[in-house]
Symmetry: C2
Subunit: 438 residues, 2 copies
C-alpha cells in the first residue's frame, strides 16, 4: 500500500523531531501501522532557516493554508502553537475532510469543544496525545487503557519547567529567580516564562485531562490557577521537615458537588512516588475506582518525546483510515452525545484540601495558643505544628503548621481572624496539601 | 444499539470482579463504548458455590464449551487459567468467529503464536491486557502509545508476590520463608508458590512484553529465569549500603547480537523510581529511542485491577466490532507478516550486566588483593567494594563488591578462579546489577 501522506504545519523543534524519528524508525513504524508514513509537505514561517532535520523530498512552503488545502495530503499535523492562526488552519483542515494531529494544548483547551464538534460532523479524527505530558501516552491511557473505570481523580506534574525549578530549590537550596534564569539559559523555560511559572500551561493540560477523565466539556475558565512565583525557599525546607515535597500539581477530582480542577503549588507526602519525580520530568497519577491509583512517568517536553506522541497519533489515524467514524475512539473519551454538559465545576472556595500555614509572630508567650484557638473554633484540626524561636536579638518567631482537609472558604475566614491577631506579623503564607492516598 | 453479549469462562475472583465493575460502571462504560456491555453467560467448575458478584440475569453452566459454542455470544472472556483446557476453549471460540479477551499469561506466552495465527485467519481479536501487570495498561502503552519508537529495553517488576517478599525483607529485616508464609496467609501467594517465587509467572509476562516491544515471536523457552528463593537478608542489607535495592526484575533488551530476556533478582540504584516500587505493586519501565525512559505503575493483581484491564479490552473490541480486520491494531503490535522470525535470543552467558558478589573469606592479609587480581586479569572492573571484619573470635570475614558490566561468561570463568583460591570459603553469591540509566 502506498505511504500515508502527512503535511506538517511548523518545522521547528517538534516538527524537526517528527521528521527525524519518522525517518529513523520508518521500517518499524511501517511494520506496526501496516503502511509507511511520509511527510510530503511542510510549512514554516521562514523558508531559509536551518532545520534540525533533513528536508529532501519534502515540499516546503511559507503558506500553511496551501498544505491544509492540498488534496494529496491525508493527515495534517499542527505544530505552530498559538490559538488564532492554528484554530483557522485546523478548522479548515477538518472542513477539507482531513484528519488532524496536534500538539497544541492551548488550542484544545480553549477551542476543543468547537473543533471536536466539527470533526464529529466531518467524520475525521483530531488526535492530541502530544498536548499533555509530552511523550507519556496519558491521553490514550485514560481514554482507552482505563475505560472500565469511573475515574475518581487525576493529579499531575505536567509542567517540566516548574518541576525543574522546584527540584533545584529543594535539592540545592537555591532561590526561585536564580533557578528561573538558569532554566531560561538551558532552554527549559521561555524568554517570557509566564505561561509556565504562572501555571497557565499546566491549566491548559489539566483542562484536557479533566474532560477525558470525567466526560465533561473542556472548561479552561473553570480551572483555578496559581503559579510558583511566590514559593519561598523557606517553605520548601519546612515542607521537607514535615515529610512533604512541594510540587506544582494539576489536580482534578470528581466530588458529589461537582468537578474540581485546580493548578497550584501542593505539598505531597514524600513517600508517594509522584513526590519523587524530579527535574524536567512529568508524571500523572490517575485513580480509577477499579484499578486504584496508577502512575505514568516520562519526559514532558523536548523534540523527540513530543514526536513520539505525535507519531503514535499518526499510527492510530493510519489504523483508522478505513474505519467507520461511528466506531472510533471518541475524541474526548466519551461519545460526543453523552458528554455531561450540566456538571458543575466548583469554585476554589468550595474545595476541600489540607493546608500548610507559615506565619511570622511576635516572640511572646501564648501566640500558638491563640492561633490554635482560632483554628479549633473554625473546626480545623491540626496535623503537625512547629514553632521556631527567633535568632538571638530578633523579635520575630515563626509558626508553621499543617492542617487536615477543610473547606477553603472556612480556611479563608479563619486566616482573616489569625491575621487580625495582634501577635501576627504580616500575611500568613498558605499552601495546599494533598495526601493522594485514596 | 443492543448491548454486546459477553460469555465468561470462569466466575472466580477476576470473573466476579468483571461482573461487579461492569454493573457498577455500566453507564460510564456505555458512554465510552457507544453501547452497553453485558455478561449474559458464565461457566464455572462448581455451580453452587457462593460468588463475589450477583448472578441474576446471567445463564450459568458448568460446561464452558457451551458458552464458546453459543451463537448469541459476541465475545468470550477466558479466565479459567491453565494452558490445556483454556487453549482448547480459546481455539474453539476463535474457530467460531468470536472475539476473545483473556487474562491468561501462561496461555499467551506458551501458545500465543498459534492462537494469534488462527485469530488472524478468522479475522477476530484476541486481547490480553490483563495478562501482564494487572491493571496497568502496559500492553496498550507499548503497542499503541509508543508506536513511534524503536523500543530499546523493557524492565518490569511484574510479580507482586516476589516484590512484597523483597520489600518486607528490606523494610523489616525479615527472612524469606517467614514473609512467604505471611504472603500465603494474606492471599498474595498461592499455596504452591513455585510459579511466583521461582520466576515462572514473571517469565510468562516478560515473554509477552518482549514480543510486543521488539516485533519478535513469543519465545518463552528463551527467557532465562531465576527466582528469589536464594536471596539472603544479608544481601538485601549490603545492597542497600551500596545504594541499591534488590528487585525481582524482568528485563528484555535489544542488542546488536540479538534479544536478551531474563528474569532474576537484580540490584537497581535506589534513586531510580522503579527501585521505590514497594509491596505488591507492579511497575514497568519502557525505554523508547524517541521518548526516552518512561515508567508505568499500578496494582499488578487483584479482582478489580485485573477487571479494569479485561473491561478496557472489551471496550476496545466493541469499538472494533464493525471494523475491517486488516486495519486493527495487530495482536502482537507488529503486522503478523512482519514479525521477525529470525531474530536470535541470547543465552544468559552472552549477556552483559553488572554484578554484586559476596564471598566468605579467611581472615588473613591479602585476600582482597587476590580477588581483585583475578577480576582485573579477566578485565572486570570494580565499582565498589567493602570488606567486613569477622566478629571477635570468628575466623571468617566477608568481602562484598559490585562490578561494572561484563559478559556473564567472563564473570563465570572469573568466579571459578576466585572460588578456587584457598582463602575463599564455599561458593560466591552472585547477583546481577542493572543501572537502567540509558
Amino acid at each position: 500500500m502506498h505511504p500515508v501522506k502527512v503535511g506538517l504545519l511548523g518545522l521547528g523543534t517538534v516538527g524537526g523531531g517528527v521528521v527525524n524519528v519518522l525517518l529513523r524508525n520508518s521500517s518499524e513504524i511501517a511494520r506496526r501501522a501496516g503502511r509507511g508514513i511520509r511527510v510530503t509537505h511542510a510549512s514554516m514561517r521562514t523558508l531559509n532557516k536551518k532545520r534540525i532535520c533533513p528536508t529532501e523530498g519534502i515540499i516546503l512552503t511559507d503558506q500553511p493554508m496551501t498544505v491544509v488545502n492540498n488534496p494529496d495530503i491525508d493527515i495534517v499535523v499542527e505544530l505552530i502553537g498559538g490559538t488564532t492562526r492554528a484554530r483557522e488552519l485546523v478548522m479548515k483542515a477538518i472542513a477539507n475532510g482531513k484528519h488532524v494531529v496536534t500538539a497544541n494544548k492551548a488550542l484544545i483547551a480553549l477551542h476543543g469543544n468547537e473543533i471536536f464538534a466539527e470533526a464529529q460532523k466531518q467524520g475525521v479524527i483530531v488526535a492530541f496525545e502530544a498536548a499533555v505530558a509530552g511523550g507519556i501516552p496519558i491521553i490514550k491511557i485514560i481514554r482507552e487503557g482505563l475505560s472500565g473505570n469511573r475515574i475518581n481523580w487525576v493529579a499531575g506534574i505536567i509542567n517540566g519547567t516548574t518541576n525543574f525549578i522546584l527540584t533545584e530549590m529543594r535539592e540545592k537550596g537555591r532561590e526561585f529567580n536564580d533557578v528561573l534564569k538558569e532554566a531560561q539559559a538551558k532552554g527549559y523555560a521561555e524568554a517570557d516564562p509566564t505561561f509556565d511559572v504562572e501555571g497557565i500551561d499546566a491549566a491548559h493540560k489539566l483542562t484536557i485531562l479533566s474532560a477525558i477523565a470525567f466526560g465533561v466539556p473542556l472548561n479552561f475558565p473553570a480551572v483555578y490557577t496559581e503559579g510558583i512565583t511566590k514559593i519561598d525557599r523557606e517553605d520548601v525546607t519546612y515542607a521537607e521537615q514535615f515529610g512533604y515535597r512541594i510540587k506544582h500539581l494539576g489536580f482534578a477530582r470528581r466530588t458529589s458537588q461537582g468537578v474540581e480542577a485546580r493548578v497550584h503549588p501542593t505539598l505531597i507526602p514524600e513517600k508517594r512516588l509522584i513526590a519523587n519525580v524530579n527535574g524536567v520530568m512529568n508524571a500523572v497519577v490517575v485513580r480509577g475506582d477499579a484499578v486504584g491509583p496508577t502512575l505514568y512517568y516520562g519526559a514532558g517536553a523536548g523534540a523527540e518525546p513530543t514526536a513520539s506522541s505525535v507519531i503514535s497519533d499518526l499510527v492510530d489515524v493510519v489504523r483508522s483510515l478505513t474505519t467507520d467514524p461511528e466506531n472510533r475512539v471518541p475524541h474526548l473519551a466519551f461519545q460526543a452525545s453523552t458528554i455531561a454538559q450540566d456538571v458543575r465545576f466548583l469554585d476554589i472556595e468550595e474545595v476541600k484540601t489540607g493546608y500548610y500555614l507559615r506565619m511570622t509572630v511576635l516572640d511572646q508567650p501564648g501566640v500558638l495558643a491563640h492561633v490554635a484557638t482560632v483554628l479549633s473554633e473554625a473546626g480545623i484540626s491540626i496535623e503537625a505544628v512547629t514553632q521556631r524561636e527567633p535568632p538571638s536579638g530578633a523579635k520575630h518567631a515563626c509558626i508553621v503548621l499543617i492542617t487536615h482537609a477543610v473547606l477553603e472558604q472556612r480556611m479563608s475566614l479563619a486566616l482573616e481572624k489569625i491575621e487580625a491577631l495582634p501577635e501576627i506579623v504580616g500575611k500568613v503564607v498558605r499552601l495546599r496539601v494533598e495526601t493522594l492516598d485514596a
